[in-house]
Symmetry: C2
Subunit: 204 residues, 2 copies
DNA sequence: CAGGTAAGCGTACGGCGTATGCTCACCAGC
DNA sequence: GCTGGTGAGCATACGCCGTACGCTTACCTG
C-alpha cells in the first residue's frame, strides 16, 4: 500500500563505495552517502539501522565480487589455494579505502563464508584432517588479512621502505639492508612468496 | 624561562591507554584523555600536534613493552622466532582495545623496528639470504598482525564460531564441521600452529 | 476517489577534532 | 626584590559527525 522504496540496498552500498573510492574512508559519512544519492541524510535510516550496517553492505559488495567456485581440480592443491587467495586479494585491493571495513565486517559477509568453504574443500582434498584444517584456514585468513593491510599501509606512508632505509646503519644493519633489497621485490611476488611459505609448511 | 611542562609524553600515553582499557577505543577522544589528566582538552595540544600523534604515543608505549633482546642462541632458530612472535603478541593482547592503533601506527614505532631487526638477525643466522629474508619478515609481520586481529575480532562478535556453527549444513558442510572442531583448539595453539606452518615452509 | 501506510525530510542534540586568542605562572636579569 | 618576557594551559567557538523524533506526502488498495 505505501509508497514503494526508491532504492535497493545494493545502490546504497554502491554509493558508499563511490564515496570511499573518491574521498577515502575518512570521507564516508551518512551525510556524504545521502548526498551521493541525492537524498536527505535521515532517509538512509529507512534502509539501514545505523552506520555499521551500511559498512556491512559495503563489505558485502566488495567481497561479493570474489569468485568462490572451486578452481579446476586437475591442478595441484597448493596452486588452487593460491588462486583463491589471489581472488580475495584482487577484490579487496580494488577498493583500498575500504580495507579497514573488510577486516572488521568480514565475519558477517556471506561471501567470506563461501570463500572459506571452498578453501576448506581444497584442503580436505589435499588430505588435511580437521584439526590441522582449522589451523590452516585461520592461518591463511590471518596471512591474507595481514598482508593486504601491510601492503596498503606501507603505501600510504609514502614509500614506507624509504623511511626504514634511512635508519642508522649501526643500530639497524639488517633492517637497512632489507629495506634496500625490498625495493626490488614487487607486492605480488611478496604476497605469493609469503603465501607459499604457509603452503609448503602445510605439505609436510 | 617560561613555566615548566607539568607532564611527560609518557604520562599522556599512559592516560590514553587507561581510557582505552576502561572504555574501549571508541571512548578515546582528546576530551576524555584530558579529563583523565585533570586538564583542559586544548592543553593536550601543547604536547601533540593532533590526535594521530597521541595515538602514536599509545602504540609506542604498547610496543615498547616487548623485549627485543635476542633469545638465547643455543636454541633452534625456529624456536627463537616463535619466542619473538609470542612476545609481540603478548604485549599487544594486553591492551586489546588498542589493537587497531598498533596496526595503523606500527611503522612509526621504534620498538617495532627493534623487533624486526632482532627477527632478521635470527633469520640471517638460520642461513636465509636477503631476498628470502625480506619475504619471510613480511610474511611473519602479516601473519602476526592478522592473527592478533582475527583473534580479537572473533571474540567481540560473541563467539564468532557459534554463528558459523549454526550455518546450513548442506551449503557449508566443511565450515560447519570446522567450527565445531575449532571449539577444541585454544587461541594459543591456533596462533603457534599457524606460525609453525610458516616456519616449516621457511626451513626448506 | 478516499484512507492508510510507510518513505523521506527537517530540526535538533550531544559529541567530536581543533583554530584562535587570552591569562598568568614561572624564571632571568637588574 | 622587583620586572618583564615567554610559553603552558584554558575558554570559546566552528564545522563536522551519528542519529532520535515528529511531520509531510506520495503511493497503492478498496
Amino acid at each position: 500500500m505505501p509508497r514503494p522504496r526508491s532504492l535497493t540496498l545494493d545502490q546504497l552500498a554502491l554509493a558508499a563505495l563511490a564515496v570511499i573510492d573518491r574521498d577515502g574512508l575518512a570521507g564516508l559519512s551518512m551525510r556524504t552517502v545521502a548526498k551521493e544519492l541525492a537524498m536527505s541524510p535521515m532517509g538512509l535510516y529507512r534502509y539501514v539501522a545505523d552506520r555499521e550496517e551500511l559498512e556491512g553492505l559495503v563489505v558485502d559488495r566488495v567481497l561479493g565480487a570474489v569468485d568462490a567456485t572451486p578452481p579446476p581440480a586437475d591442478t595441484p592443491w597448493q596452486e588452487r589455494v593460491e588462486t583463491m587467495a589471489g581472488r580475495l586479494r584482487d577484490a579487496v585491493i580494488r577498493h583500498p579505502g575500504a580495507i579497514p571495513l573488510t577486516v572488521v565486517h568480514r565475519h558477517h559477509a556471506a561471501a567470506g563464508l563461501r570463500w572459506s568453504e571452498t578453501v576448506l574443500g581444497i584442503l580436505a582434498e589435499a588430505g588435511i584432517d580437521d584439526v590441522r584444517r582449522v589451523v590452516a584456514l585461520r592461518a591463511l585468513h590471518a596471512y591474507v588479512t595481514g598482508a593486504i593491510q601491510l601492503e596498503h599501509l606501507g603505501a600510504l606512508s609514502g614509500d614506507g621502505t624509504a623511511v626504514i632505509a634511512a635508519l642508522p646503519k649501526d643500530r639497524f644493519p639488517l633492517l637497512a639492508e632489507t629495506a634496500r633489497t625490498a625495493g626490488g621485490v614487487g607486492p605480488d611476488e611478496e604476497f605469493s612468496g609469503g603465501l607459499r611459505l604457509i603452503l609448503r609448511g602445510l605439505a609436510d
